[in-house]
Subunit: 306 residues, 2 copies
């Protein structure tokens, strides 16, 4: 019984330890496929495409840093441009995390509702939620499984991001950790100053209704484990409940930000990983699912080894 | 700008306030449909089908109670029977929450790995993860949308629970808040003493591979907002990080447990709610999704009004 607890945990709820060398060699777990991907299958993320948010230290004095990767072209670029301007203007410094709604979102921005925005922010339109054309001839349609998507005609991955497709075009998907733009009622589409991240089951009914501008790639636990707000919609009712934001900077303006890389979604290892996520055959599993929700195939992202 | 923040929050990320009476009357939000459901459309949950877990108070001395509804017949009843015996034996008293893995699970049980189990616990088999026959002639197949399920031939709701269907039969679905049985490698299927709940995107690859025995119906924030463990698989590395479990009792053994009820999944209001979840037409939304993941149609559960 000595190894019972770790075994239960691993066996029950994760890629199991490679106890059965034969099986794991024949049917590696998704994590094992990622670990054995070739160096050339990883793609560097430019520091200029990172947004680094430093929160006030936690109750034990521990630093809390959240690293966000901004959405690549051609998606949501008007909002992404605004976010670059807001970060350059240090607009978020001194603002706060104002909302934590269970199984939904954590939201941050200016709780005073009075902070002036930088000039020359782009005004976006609802049509900009969808990109009409395929972004590139090297687009690959990496189907997560052989079945349709409940929220779109189809879905796939492009340069490391999950996308959905319909008659109107292509759009990013509200998976766990994705970062979106809070907005007012239509036709307002938000500036990018009010942001949220998904901390629960993918709220995909928001796809094509809100701009997605990035995803948290490190430190999401500093947001997802915050006490839930007791006010309507999970807003914090008391000012002292809000978590102060010390600074938000673009990655190339932060001296000590590590280098990150993602597994090329056009690589053989990603294809094998996606198949293994959809069909777990490693020792613990009795029944492979035969498919997977695209939000259950998170694109592997890691710190680049020095 | 005065109403900016609440409006942004509500408009961006929830059922909006009924600002446009006309629209909301024509196209009520899911929450409005639930609020207007008839009294006769709600079904009482028997206290004997509740599991009440009291954790040690939080750092501010606030009580933390988690209420779980046990899985109804004919699903997972061997494990549910074991859980009733474990609760009656007060087996969990003095155990702890031992694991919090972001976007995955929170797990509890005996961290010492030495606590003797009650006698006469049922030994279950992997075949028991699936129920071969339709549970009742009054089964309804409340399709969440007109499209297939990536993890099953089809899915629906039965007496208030999301279920999937395949050639082998029917099985419960790993949605947010569902409670499952930690286990060792096959053929061990777990006793029910080691439990976890889902705190992230539905890990449906676990369907048919682990027993689901219930769901958290109140207080999940006491689990989902716990600090994530820093050990492998989100296990807490230090004993002081574990959250003590003061007691776990069946609902009919707890004097002050409130009465709960769920919205009948065979009711007109549930059908309208499910349709509205799949096709948001309330003022905020520009584009109804045209479908929904079954885990994005949580069955409404509430405290019964006194």
């Amino acid at each position: 019984m000595k190894r019972y607890l770790p075994l239960v945990a691993c066996a029950a709820l994760c890629a199991p330890l490679p106890l059965l060398a034969q099986d794991t060699k024949t049917h590696p777990a998704p994590s094992e496929i990622v670990a054995s991907a070739k160096a050339g299958e990883w793609v560097a993320i430019a520091p200029s495409d990172l947004l680094v948010m430093d929160l006030a230290p936690d109750s034990k004095g521990k630093a809390r840093r959240v690293v966000i990767q901004l959405m690549p072209k051609p998606f949501s670029q008007g909002w992404v441009g605004n976010i670059r301007k807001l970060a350059a203007a240090r607009w978020w410094d001194g603002t706060s995390i104002n909302r934590a709604q269970d199984n939904y979102v954590v939201q941050w921005g200016d709780a005073t509702e009075k902070k002036a925005l930088p000039e020359a922010l782009a005004t976006m339109e609802a049509k900009d939620y969808v990109t009409p054309d395929w972004p590139s001839k090297d687009w690959i349609f990496e189907r997560a499984d052989g079945r349709p998507d409940a929220y779109a005609g189809a879905h796939g991955f492009y340069v490391g991001w999950p996308l959905a497709q319909g008659r109107e075009g292509l759009w990013p998907i509200h998976c766990y950790g994705m970062v979106g733009v809070g907005r007012n009622l239509a036709p307002d589409t938000g500036t990018g100053a009010e942001l949220y991240t998904v901390i629960g089951h993918a709220p995909r009914h928001l796809d094509r209704n809100i701009a997605l501008v990035g995803r948290v790639i490190e430190g999401i636990e500093h947001l997802s484990s915050l006490p839930r707000g007791t006010g309507a919609l999970g807003f914090y009712e008391k000012e002292e409940e809000r978590v102060p934001i010390l600074s938000v900077r673009l990655g190339d303006a932060v001296r000590d930000v590590p280098a990150f890389e993602y597994l090329d979604t056009n690589s053989a290892s990603f294809a094998a990983y996606a198949d293994a996520r959809a069909n777990r055959r490693d020792p613990f599993f009795n029944v492979p699912a035969g498919g997977a929700d695209i939000c259950n195939i998170p694109v592997p992202i890691r710190r680049k080894a020095k």
